[in-house]
């Protein structure tokens, strides 16, 4: 009797194993979804990279905020930058705010990068990394989309393109309009 139970258990375990392994092919080990999406965006106040005082997330409440974590040592950041610049120009005069958060580097390096890459939106320094940790950042580049209600509506890990940016922003603007 017991031996039979064991036999069945072995077959079940092995079947489960094979099914799991087969299912696992559909999974991308680099796709990490956990984090702060659909939760209120953690508040922060950080010093601007150019030294002209501080910027706070609270300053932009009621607006669509695109928060981009970047660093000069991060190659994908350089790769995605033209898309960010184009989207910034496109929404410049609307209720969309772009905010760059410099990740794990010195202010001089960050500022040099911002000037070199033609970034004219606000960039702030996250000196001790606390803001990145509170957003659950893995590494730059990462982009968060914060709605007018202050909730993080979406997150993109890795270099982002223009289409993804525009789609996410338009969705949030639509939300803002219907409110």
């Amino acid at each position: 009797m017991l031996a039979r139970v064991v036999r069945i258990a072995v077959v079940v375990v092995i079947l489960g194993l094979v099914v799991t392994l087969a299912l696992a092919f559909r999974r991308d080990p680099h796709d990490i979804r956990t984090g702060t999406v659909n939760k209120p965006a953690p508040a922060f106040t950080l010093g601007r990279l150019d030294g002209s005082g501080q910027a706070s997330l609270a300053d932009y409440s009621g607006k669509v905020v695109v928060v981009n974590f970047f660093a000069s040592w991060c190659l994908p950041c350089i790769q995605e930058n033209p898309a960010l610049v184009r989207v910034y120009e496109r929404y410049r005069s609307s209720d969309v705010v772009m905010l760059g958060i410099n990740f794990q580097e010195s202010r001089e390096n960050g500022l040099a990068y911002v000037q070199r890459m033609g970034i004219s939106w606000t960039s702030v320094a996250d000196d001790d990394g606390r803001v990145a940790l509170s957003y659950g950042v893995f590494g730059p580049p990462e982009t968060f989309f914060i709605g007018p209600d202050g909730i993080i509506a979406g997150r993109h890990i890795g270099p982002i393109d223009e289409e993804t940016l525009v789609t996410a922003i338009e969705k949030l603007r639509g939300q803002a309009a219907t409110r």
């Binding site: 017991l2 953690p42 794990q104 990394g129 659950g136 590494g139």
Partner: protein, 153 residues
């Protein structure tokens, strides 16, 4: 000295040493930081803990934990802060409370089932009487030795 007295003394000494090792003692702030960061997964590494990793992110996380410990936050509060940002993913051993606790249950259940299975097959009672090998047993053994020698030669 009598064997039994010797064994009794040794067992007492052993129990004393283990009791000393297991005694509850105050954890220092550094020990608490180590305990918490051992459980946290470094987000930029391959399965390393925040305590072990040399990455900048892990260093910042250690600093954050150390600050929270200085602020007299409880372990649960500090863990909740990281869970809010990274989800359960950030913990290297899954929480017992939810259904993920199954991962703790299965090894224990398997161990218990295995021990029950083996115990059920053991002979109970005293030491079996030494019996002379039967002729068939001797023949089987001889055959085995001959075979082994052939295989090994």
């Amino acid at each position: 000295m009598n064997r039994r007295v010797l064994i009794a003394i040794a067992v007492l000494a052993l129990a004393g040493a283990l009791a000393f090792a297991a005694r509850p003692h105050e954890t220092t702030a550094d020990e608490r930081v180590d305990q918490i960061t051992t459980e946290l997964r470094c987000p930029v590494c391959q399965g390393l803990s925040v305590k072990d990793s040399t990455s900048e992110t892990a260093r910042q996380m250690r600093d954050l934990v150390a600050q929270r410990v200085r602020e007299a936050k409880t372990n649960a509060e500090i863990e909740a802060e990281f869970r809010a940002a990274y989800g359960d993913w950030i913990f290297l051993s899954p929480p017992l409370a939810s259904w993920t606790g199954l991962v703790w249950l299965v090894p224990v259940a398997a161990l218990a089932a295995g021990l029950a299975l083996v115990t059920g097959r053991l002979r109970s009672g005293g030491v079996p009487q030494p019996s002379a090998p039967t002729t068939t047993e001797v023949a089987a053994l001889r055959e085995r030795v001959a075979r082994e020698e052939a295989a090994e030669g």
